[in-house]
């Protein structure tokens, strides 16, 4: 099951300032709902994500890193791969960030996708699809919140 979310928003700060924040992996990783970043460097981070939703409670452990980072063009691709505890299957996320100047501020394009395999995807009635939608929504909202506040 793969979900994708496109989101565009503007920030009242120039791209350079925004870029620094956006490429702080601890900040970005920590924005994922239920995530705890346990270690982070310039290039990668590790952590876990607890998805709690009504009766469901599943934990993924994983790591994330830049697969692409262009500080000039203000474009970055971050990938995170989580392994579900208790044989759940895997989840992976990919975030594509692109900043463009807009007036005195910045326009940010964020494309996030989430792929879930194994038991949660089989849960039924497409519930995990709705859940993924929600998780991605909260993630992007958090990123936007951090940049615009």
């Amino acid at each position: 099951m793969a979900m994708e979310l496109h989101h565009t928003f503007t920030v009242d700060a120039p791209p350079e300032a925004t870029w620094a924040l956006l490429t702080d992996l601890e900040q970005v990783g920590g924005c994922f709902p239920g995530a705890t970043v346990t270690s982070a460097t310039e290039e990668e981070f590790t952590g876990n994500v607890k998805v709690k939703l009504g009766p469901i409670g599943v934990t993924y452990q994983g790591e994330g890193r830049f697969v692409e980072r262009d500080d000039e063009a203000h474009r970055a691709v971050i990938e995170g791969i989580g392994k579900g505890l208790r044989g759940l299957g895997n989840a992976s996320a990919r975030v594509v960030l692109q900043l463009e100047p807009e007036g005195s501020g910045t326009q940010a394009d964020v494309v996030t996708s989430l792929t879930i395999t194994g038991k949660p995807a089989q849960f039924g009635r497409g519930v995990m699809q709705t859940v993924s939608d929600k998780l991605l929504g909260q993630f992007v909202e958090c990123i936007e919140g951090k940049l615009t506040s």
Binding site: K52, L53, G54, P55, I56, G57, V58, R86, G87, L88, K119, P120, F123, R125, G126, V127, Q129, T130, V131, K134
Partner: protein, 284 residues
């Protein structure tokens, strides 16, 4: 299918249950009828440290009359509620909806409050309770509070019941003499609703005086179609008038897309079934 190991406690009182919840925090899961929780545990999609089984708490059992409302305790099973003469007389909509819940075996185990707390938008209980303006009674370490439907249902599987709290009852105002119909749309019997429409109508000489319409599985929570309710007031209970009033029922809803139907299909069917439910409720 075997769930992961967990501790188990069966408190005898609400106070004891709350103590256990306070002690174990998010490691605790409340078990009532178990019809939603146990499958999840057996599919190993959760592994709580402790199960707090409230099904033996006497004070939570039963269906009683409390002034102008009917109080359904957290221990009351679907079947207890179906069998209640009070519910049959005063809450026809809830009664007709509960008949559509799953199958006989599940109705003898599952509880109405359990379903509300579970907050599955495809469950058959939320929409009628919301439409009939039920109030959820929640107890916690700081005492008791009452929450109405609009505030209770927060999101998919998410309610106003906080950590350490317990939904102990739902109180639903009497709707004596109202006609009712629950239109449940499924592909095979005993399934979750693809969508469901809960309609209660009070008529005065062929004219709709008041109407209540609740929607099942048309969004991440049960929904109440207030605009439709308002549009119905004063209408003759005729096909044409009702159809017109119900036409916009899906406006603003965000139903899911899954193997049973895409969102636009659900929206379409909601319009058809709302008309049918209201007409049936109005006895037309």
């Amino acid at each position: 299918m075997i769930p992961p190991e967990f501790d188990y406690a069966a408190p005898a009182t609400v106070a004891e249950a709350l103590e256990l919840l306070a002690e174990h925090g998010d490691e605790a899961k409340v078990l009532s009828g178990g019809q939603s929780l146990l499958p999840v545990l057996r599919m190993r999609l959760n592994a709580p440290g402790i199960i707090v089984d409230i099904s033996r708490i006497e004070e939570l059992k039963g269906v009683t009359e409390v002034g102008d409302a009917i109080r359904i305790g957290a221990g009351a099973t679907y079947q207890d509620v179906l069998d209640s003469a009070l519910v049959q007389e005063h809450l026809a909509l809830l009664h007709t909806a509960l008949k559509e819940v799953a199958d006989e075996q599940i109705r003898h185990r599952g509880t109405v409050c359990g379903a509300l707390a579970h907050a599955d938008p495809a469950g058959d209980v939320g929409a009628p309770v919301l439409a009939l303006e039920g109030r959820m009674v929640i107890q916690g370490p700081d005492g008791e509070r009452t929450v109405d439907g609009a505030d209770f249902f927060v999101d998919l599987f998410e309610t106003a019941v906080g950590e350490g709290e317990l939904l102990t009852a739902v109180e639903i105002p009497k709707h004596t003499g109202w006609g009712a119909r629950y239109e449940k749309f499924v592909r095979v019997s005993h399934q979750w609703a693809i969508i469901g429409i809960a309609a209660a109508v009070r008529t005065e000489g062929g004219t709709i005086a008041e109407a209540r319409v609740g929607l099942t599985n048309m969004g991440s929570t049960p929904l109440r179609a207030r605009a439709v309710e308002e549009a119905l007031v004063g209408q003759e209970a005729t096909e044409e008038a009702v159809a017109q009033a119900c036409a916009q029922v899906a406006e603003g809803t965000d139903p899911p897309s899954d193997l049973n139907g895409q969102a636009d299909y659900r929206k379409h069917v909601a319009g058809v079934l709302t008309r049918r439910a209201v007409l049936a409720a109005a006895g037309a």
